[in-house]
Each structure stands twice: as structure tokens, then as C-alpha cells.
Point group: C2
Chain length 452, copies 2
Amino acid sequence: MDEAGAPPLELSDALVEKVRAALAVGDTSAAAALAAPLHAADLADLLERLDGEARRALIAALGPAFDADTLPHLDEYVRDQVIEALGPEATGEVVARLETDDAVEVLADLDEAEQAAILAGLPLPERAAIEQGLAFPEYSAGRLMQRDAVAVPEYWTVGQTIDYLRAQPDLPDEFYDIFLIDPRFRVVGAVPLSRVLRSRRAVPLKELRLKELRTFPAECDQEEVARAFRKYGLVSAPVVGADGRLLGVITVDDVVDVIEEEAEDDILKLGGVLETDFFAGPWQSARQRLPWLVVNLATAVLAATVIGLFEGAIEKLVALAVLMPMVPSMGGNAGTQTLTVTVRALAVGELTPSNTLQILWKEIAVGLVNGAVFLVLGALIVALWFRDPYLGLVFGLAMIANLTAAGLAGVTIPLALHRLGFDPAVSSAVFVTTVTDCVGFGAFLGLATLLL
Amino acid sequence: MDEAGAPPLELSDALVEKVRAALAVGDTSAAAALAAPLHAADLADLLERLDGEARRALIAALGPAFDADTLPHLDEYVRDQVIEALGPEATGEVVARLETDDAVEVLADLDEAEQAAILAGLPLPERAAIEQGLAFPEYSAGRLMQRDAVAVPEYWTVGQTIDYLRAQPDLPDEFYDIFLIDPRFRVVGAVPLSRVLRSRRAVPLKELRLKELRTFPAECDQEEVARAFRKYGLVSAPVVGADGRLLGVITVDDVVDVIEEEAEDDILKLGGVLETDFFAGPWQSARQRLPWLVVNLATAVLAATVIGLFEGAIEKLVALAVLMPMVPSMGGNAGTQTLTVTVRALAVGELTPSNTLQILWKEIAVGLVNGAVFLVLGALIVALWFRDPYLGLVFGLAMIANLTAAGLAGVTIPLALHRLGFDPAVSSAVFVTTVTDCVGFGAFLGLATLLL
């Protein structure tokens, strides 16, 4: 078998270790020789796995052999370090070799001084294209798109199109649809390449176009773009200006990244951490995670204040202190279940005004049903443990109250945050557990004061 | 503007309400007229938003106009109801109109009796193709692939290929790469359509093939497939048997679903709920969520037992009862932060044996740093609140101990579950909070017993 079409070189743990070992003994040229044949995505992986010093040494050793396409594959935190190691001049050279969408993505994360230093070194056309890309709002279709779209007049035939494509040297590397444009450069149709290839030369492209044309305004949020790509199985789609003119094209590989990032984002936000956490050093991670812990301290103080209201009851019956943390613990878990479902349903657009009330009733019902289970189970355990049926009853009643509150809070809190324009993934958990903590302690100790 | 290429019909909240209203007054033909022109993905959305009764009425009203492609777009829970409403015979007719990969996906979720009933009604070739698809393991490349791949002999030219494609009526709807095969039907290359279209008729396809050929064995896990598609920006890739023969093709639209589902899955598992939760009724949801709550009850009993060891200390100083829930609350949050980062790093393959130790040290460092912050902050708050500096010191020391334990548990528990072959997203949270609860209560009350 000849070289092309051969199975690709994989980045194995063993290869990472070899590169690391070579760098450790200062044999940078051996390390570069191992790294150079890797696919850009694998080189990015390798760089992410090395520590800061080894990373800089490898980049220096690769020199001009450094594959430009590595940059967009890197985690933001590692990319900053790589760009710093390259310096503005070499970064400029690397950025100039990227497609516009990738160049914009790389530059967007830098601060303005760094951006200006790199842009200053670029040839004017590239510079203008990147600056135009950066002018679109963050996370918009305009930022995501590539400017080189393949577009032909709407009245062309298959034959004309093929002749044009064969003659034109300046086309994007890969494209999946040909867009039809009217004389004012407005998009009026999209033709998948497979349809062009299967049709005779005389067939007008118009006859081959997709029944439905899905275009995206440049300001459209990338999440909306990703949702449409996923829903309708799109592979590429045109981005248009306010006047309907073709501005560029979004391809599915960029959308795949968005889908992964948005989901990733929700996971990490729900856990109270930032996207760059994994590759950040201990100091950065500690600092980034601190704010949520401080917020949690405040809510914990609130919960402690609720307990403080019932000091007298605890003094009389210390068993209350032993049992009381179980009630908010159960409520917190039930609330997390509900809020997880709610946050995801909001993110994927399944929770709409037309079914909100139905979902709210459902969650209250779930809280009552599972609350009833723990009313019985909890009352039994406590009655047997402390040989006190009344204490068991108090515990069970607090359980059902708190699980119902959890269901209610788990829907209403993320929903309210969403309606107010906040991201429900970020702060729902802390509010929901505040409710379940306060209701949990309050209900248990309050009922104990009343009934025991 | 003529019909094709027109902006597509959108599923708005208003349209959902109109359909719902028509069904409510029994005007099923009006509802069907509103629903029939929708894209399959939108019809699926509409069906998901209706309640069970309205759903059945709409399906009955649509009759043979029911778009087969709706089925793969439906949430599993809703799809079961739709298939039940259709009955095995009509479902068979609908399934026969789907591409193999979609048909396999739909049938895979049904129980064996339902599968058999539907398969019995299918024409033999479709039936054989679907049965072969179902023979591959769940979540494998074989399940994901479509059997109709476009493949031509490796020695063909662009001209021969175009002539073949024009003459062949039986090709898949959409395809993005042409695979080159040797005489034994083994894949030896992949040529993107854009390269074929841009090249003159005499050019051999071999010259146009991608430098790297990425094939997937049929048994390969879909998560691995998705990771490679994302990493290398693939749009389609061949699936091969053990002998390297071409079995089918995976296209990016199927992979987009996998990426979304895997991330979704992790989010919901971390929250202790199932994927089908949102569309399930209250009874089902309550039942599905119960097991984790029962596990949590057991761990809460464990934490209460730890408190029980120190009843004497609480009896002497009831302030301990007021303060003690704050310690595990903070530890639980810090542990959740760490485990979220760890679970995601494991899922996307960033946490490997070569950097495990480094990450473990980092998390312990983060725990110590943030623990030190709350040692000072917590000690101050408590000392001022209860006018007792020693109580403040005990509280602060318990904080730093628990935040360090949280960092340690947040890495080691998901990692251990992963090494043992379990999914760390499912059960890490419950184990980590058990550790932070027991260490939190134990450290605070234990230190109080020793030092106060």
C-alpha cells in the first residue's frame, strides 16, 4: 500500500512519554521529529498533555514546522501559553495560514493589545477579513462562518458549474453545498454536491436545490445555529446579511465544536466550575472556584440561622441534631434531579411557555409521590432507631414537605433565571439547595417544636 | 420567488396552540392540515409537545401522510407511544420507508416481541438489512452506520466516476465522500466530493484521496467514533469488517446526535436522572428517580451516625448543632466542583494515566488553598457570631480538612469507578458527598470534643 490512504499515525500514551523523555534530557530535535508528523488535532493534544516548560521547548524545536491548524484545536488556557511562547511575529505568520473562521476564533480570545500586535503583522486582505469577523458579536453565526463560500448564479447548469469549479483555483479546501445567488448576491437556494455529481451537464442547478433553504443571519446566536444543524441534519448553511446577501458559510465541523462546548459548558456550570478549569494551574483553579464557595458559605450561614431559631428544641432533645441534616440532604438531591432536567430542557428548547404549567404540576406530583415513600421509610427508620414513633412522624412529615419544595424550586428557580435573562445552569443549584436547606431544617425543627 | 428555496415553515408556539385547539374541539382534519407540511423534525417536536391523547388523535388524523422520518427524531419515551398508536402493521410500513441506520435505531428501542411483529411485515431485503444492523452491539459503529456507501474501484478516474454516478439510480440521498475499494472490497481511500467536482475527467481518483484514511471497525464504540469525527472534523467515514471490507458509512448527522446525547447523558447522570425523564409522566419520573434518593438516604443515615457519636458534645454546646451542617455543605460543593471537572476530563479523554498524579496534586493544592481561605473566613464569622474564638478555630480547621478531603475524593472516586469499568458520571456524586458529609461532621465535632 502506498503512503496516501495509509492508516493515520495515532497519538498514544507511549508516544507522549517518548516526547516527554526526549524533552527531559534536552533532546529537542528528537522530540520535534516525533511530533512533526502528527495531525494538527493530535499535536494539540500532545501540547495539552505536556507541562508549561516542555510545551515551550517543543514549540521552539518545531519552529517553522509548527502546524498552524493546531491553534484552533487547543484549549483556550493552553493556547494562551502557546501564543506567548511563539511571540506576536510568529503567531502572526501562523494565523495568516489559517482559514478566516479559525483565525477569528484564535484572536477573539486574546486581549486587545495582543490582537493589535498580531493583526499589524498580517497582509491587508487577511487582516481586513479577520477584523470583519471580529466585528460580529461573540458566539454569533458571523463569528462561526468561513468567508469563502462557493456560490454561482441561480440560472447556471450542472455543466457550467463543473467547468467553473475546475477553472477556479481559489476555492475553500472542502465544501459540501453550492449556493445559488441572484444578481444582487442574495442566496436563493442550496444544492448538495452529491446532487450535482449525479446529474447530467444540461440540468439547471435550480432543479436540484433543496426544498427548504435554511439561512442564518450573521447576528444569530451560535446555539440557535447548532440546534438547527442538529435538528435538520445540515452539513453546511449560508450566513446572510440583513439584506439577504451571502456573507459566508457555516460548516458542520464548526457546529460540532459548538454542540460539544455548549453541553460541556452546562455540565461545568452546573458543577460550579469554568471551562478552562482542567488545564489551569492550582492557583487559577482555586481562585476561579472560590466565588461559588463564598456564595455557598452565605447560604450555609442562612441555613445555620434557621437552625439557630430552634436551639431550645435541640437542647431538649439532642436526637434532633443527629437527624436534622438528613432532611435537607434528601431535599437537595431531589432538587438537583429536578433542576438538572429543567436546565437541560431549557437548553435544548423543550421547555416552552406552552408546557410550563404541565411540567410544574408534574414535578410537584413527583415530589409528593417520592415524599410519601420517604415519609413512610423515614418514619420507620427513625421510630426504630430512637424508639420514638412521634419523632419518626415528625421526620417523615418534614421529608414530604421538603421533597415537594424541592420539586417546586427545581422548576421555578431555573425558569425564573431564564426568563430574567440569566443562564440557569450557572446559579440554579445554589438557590435550589438554599431553599431545600432552609425548608428542610425549618420544617423538621419547627414540627418538632410544635408536636413533641 | 417560486416554491423551492423558500424559507421553511417554522414550528412556532402559536402553531402548536392552533393544533392543540383544533384537536381539543375534535377537528382532527384541521389539525392534520396544519401538521402535514412540517419538516419531519418539527413534526416530531409537535408530537412531543402534545399530551398522550392529542398525540394519538393527530397520528390517526395524519394516517398515511405521517412522515416516516419523524420516528428517529422522537424522544424514546414519546416514540414508544407513537409506535403503540400506529400499531405493528402501520409501523412496519413506516419503518420500511426509513434508511437502514434510522430503522435500526427505531427498532432497537423496542422489546423483542414488538421487533418481531414489525420485522415480520417487512420485505425480505429490508428485513435482512435491519436484522444485520441489530446484530451489532448497542452503541457501536455498526449500529450507527448506513449500509449504502458509495464505493468505486481504486483505479477509476474522475470521468468514470461521474458517469457511474449519473447512471446509478440506487444511491443514498446524500453522500459526502466516495470510497476507493480494492478487488477484495477493502477500503483503500476516501475522496471528498468537492475534490471530484474540481478535477478534470482524466484525473485518477487515487490522486485525490485524503492523506489520512480513518476507518472504524463495526464494533467500535460510538463515543470513540464521535470523538474522532469531532477531533478530525470528519463529515463521513467508512465502517469496515475485521477483514477491512467496506460494510457501510457513518455520516456526521448521526454523529452530531451521538455527541449531543453523550453530553446530555453525562449532565443528567450527574444530576441523578434518566435521559427520558423530561417526557415521562410523574409516576415514571418518580419511580426512576427513587433509587438514587434511597441510596442518598443510606448515606445520610451514615452521616447521622457520625453525628450520633458526638451527642455528648452537642448536649454540652448546642452551638455545635447550629454550625455543623455548614462544614459538609461547603465540602460537598467543593467536591462537586472537582468531580465535575474529573468526570468531564475522563469523558473527553483528557485525563490519562500520564497526567493523573499531576491532577491529583493539583486538586489537593486547590483544596488546601481554598480551605485556608475558609479557615480564616469561617473562624472569623463563627468567632464573632458566637463570641468564642476557640469555636471559630475548630470550625476553621474542620473547613480546611474537609475541603482537602473534597479535592482528594473528587479525583480518586470518579477515577476509581472509571478504572473498575463503571460510568463515573452515574455514582461519583453520591460517594463524594458521603465522604464530605462524614469527614465534615466528624472533623468538626471531633475537633470540638478534643479542643473545647
